[in-house]
């Protein structure tokens, strides 16, 4: 039994031209049982910055609380909105403090810089190693399937509509093959003047 697939869940983020898309499934399980069908793994940290937390659900909740704590202190001290790159560093340092005795959750940060609106995506392992590819990142039990299908669907310079379709279709493909994720998917499309939250029709098993 792996602790990272105990509760299940998958998150994908893709970067386009001036926009990012972040998608999550909705299943919460206890190994083979499904316990809840409305648990999003993506959380809003600030207007344009979202965080995905996969892995063991209890640790994901704890780490989310700690991220909010650090982000609130940062925004109070600096008196400005946090940038996604800075948030990623904060989360990485938080994870690395627990280098021996880690939280069993892999964080993913996706968002737009609050000033320049440049897209930023990154994913980390459980101890905070940041990977910043320019195209897409995936975490969770369905990450392997997502990496394969996103290599085909992602192109450079997609606009927000194309990016939404690519992200949604990649997520649906992964849900076909990952038993620990599913029960629907929700896709957030973040552009400089709005955030679209779409729940897409998916197989409910």
């Amino acid at each position: 039994m792996s602790i990272m697939s105990y509760t299940g869940g998958t998150v994908l983020a893709m970067a386009g031209d001036d926009c990012v898309c972040i998608a999550s499934d909705l299943r919460l399980g206890e190994q083979m049982n499904t316990v809840a069908v409305d648990q999003k793994k993506v959380h809003k940290i600030s207007e344009k910055v979202y965080v995905g937390l996969c892995g063991f659900h209890s640790d994901a909740k704890t780490v989310l609380d700690k991220i909010m704590f650090r982000k609130n202190l940062y925004e109070l001290r600096e008196n400005r909105s946090i940038k996604p790159k800075v948030l990623a560093t904060i989360i990485s340092n938080l994870a690395y403090q627990h280098r021996f005795g880690s939280y069993f959750t892999e964080p993913l940060v996706a968002g737009l810089d609050p000033v320049s609106h440049k897209p930023y995506i990154c994913a980390m392992d459980t101890i905070g190693n940041i990977c910043t590819p320019e195209d897409f990142v995936a975490i969770g039990t369905g990450a392997e399937y997502l990496l394969g299908v996103s290599e085909s669907f992602w192109r450079k310079g997609m606009n927000s509509e194309e990016l939404f379709e690519a992200t949604a279709q990649s997520m649906l493909s992964a849900l076909e093959r990952d038993a620990a994720s599913g029960w629907g998917a929700v896709v957030y499309t973040i552009t400089k003047d709005k955030v679209n939250i779409r729940t897409i029709k998916a197989r409910m098993d």
Binding site: S2, F100, N129, A166, R198, T199
Partner: protein, 276 residues
């Protein structure tokens, strides 16, 4: 009140002591391991890293693949880490440990430069790294090649996770080092020029990228001389390119995905001044 304080101190331990490791999850994690749960895979820079000293300076290079088990987690990972303007470190081992150790080295040396008013020396970087890594008995998995030029000359050192250090004229580390070292052993000679040294490092990296499954994608080089430091990368060797471009584009029509519920949050854009 005392009980509340103790609880808060426990929960906020890592906020209170930002520079220390927090071991509060260890009991739980050990219990889980005894129950038979597999620990999560950590990103490792499987890697080939190579460094060579030549007549005036040092050439260092690394590939750019980071793996989590057999999955390539990052195709363009930075393994040639900046320490100071004339000291760089190539890292193999656990990726998070490498990032944090090299950041720590960089800040410590910068503070030392500011406090002493002198350019930092490569041997200082080595000693700080060695003392940190030995302290953790090899559990901080960082295998570094630290190279650079300081006022006393060019140096190349090799640091292992358990604290062993060695001074070398040329070195290779990482899983691809078995392939890379063969090229270095054959072709390294005393008094090479910068072009020869650069070519030797690239050939050694190519050997590692061919032979080792955990190395590949592209390579980064840094050439350090007393006058300047040139960072070259990413260089993609011919054999690392996709053989043909993808034939058909997967272009989905708008509306291809059925949307059940939609919510839109609109933000007003307030003109902001760029303060950079």
């Amino acid at each position: 009140m005392a009980a509340l304080d103790a609880f808060q101190n426990g929960v906020l331990q890592c906020e209170v002591e930002p520079n220390a490791f927090d071991f509060s999850n260890c009991t739980r994690n050990c219990a889980l391991a005894r129950m038979g749960t597999a620990p999560p895979r950590l990103n490792s820079t499987g890697t080939t890293i190579v460094a060579v000293t030549y007549k005036d300076g040092v050439v260092m290079g690394a590939d750019s693949r980071a793996t989590a088990g057999n999955i390539i987690a990052d195709k363009h990972c930075e393994k040639v880490h900046y320490i100071t303007d004339s000291i760089y470190a190539c890292g193999a081992g656990t990726a998070a440990d490498l990032d944090q150790v090299t950041k720590m080295l960089s800040s410590s040396l910068r503070l030392l430069e500011l406090n002493t008013g002198r350019k930092a020396r490569v041997i200082t970087a080595l000693r700080i790294a060695k003392q940190h890594l030995f302290n953790y008995m090899g559990y901080v998995g960082a295998y570094l090649l630290i190279g650079g030029v300081d006022p006393t000359g060019p140096y190349l050192f090799d640091v292992s996770a358990n604290g062993t250090t060695m001074a070398r004229p040329f070195a290779a580390q990482g899983s691809g080092s078995y392939a890379a070292i063969t090229v270095l052993e054959k072709d390294w000679k005393i008094g090479m020029t910068e072009e020869e040294a650069s070519k030797l490092v690239q050939d050694a990296l190519h050997a590692g990228m061919h032979g080792d499954n955990a190395s590949g994608n592209s390579l980064n080089l840094v050439v350090i001389t007393p006058e300047k430091t040139i960072f070259r990368g990413p260089i993609v060797p011919d054999f690392c390119n996709k053989p043909e471009p993808i034939e058909s584009d997967y272009k989905f029509k708008s509306g291809a995905t059925t949307v059940l519920k939609k919510k839109e949050i609109k933000y007003d854009i307030v003109e902001s001044m760029d303060m950079h």
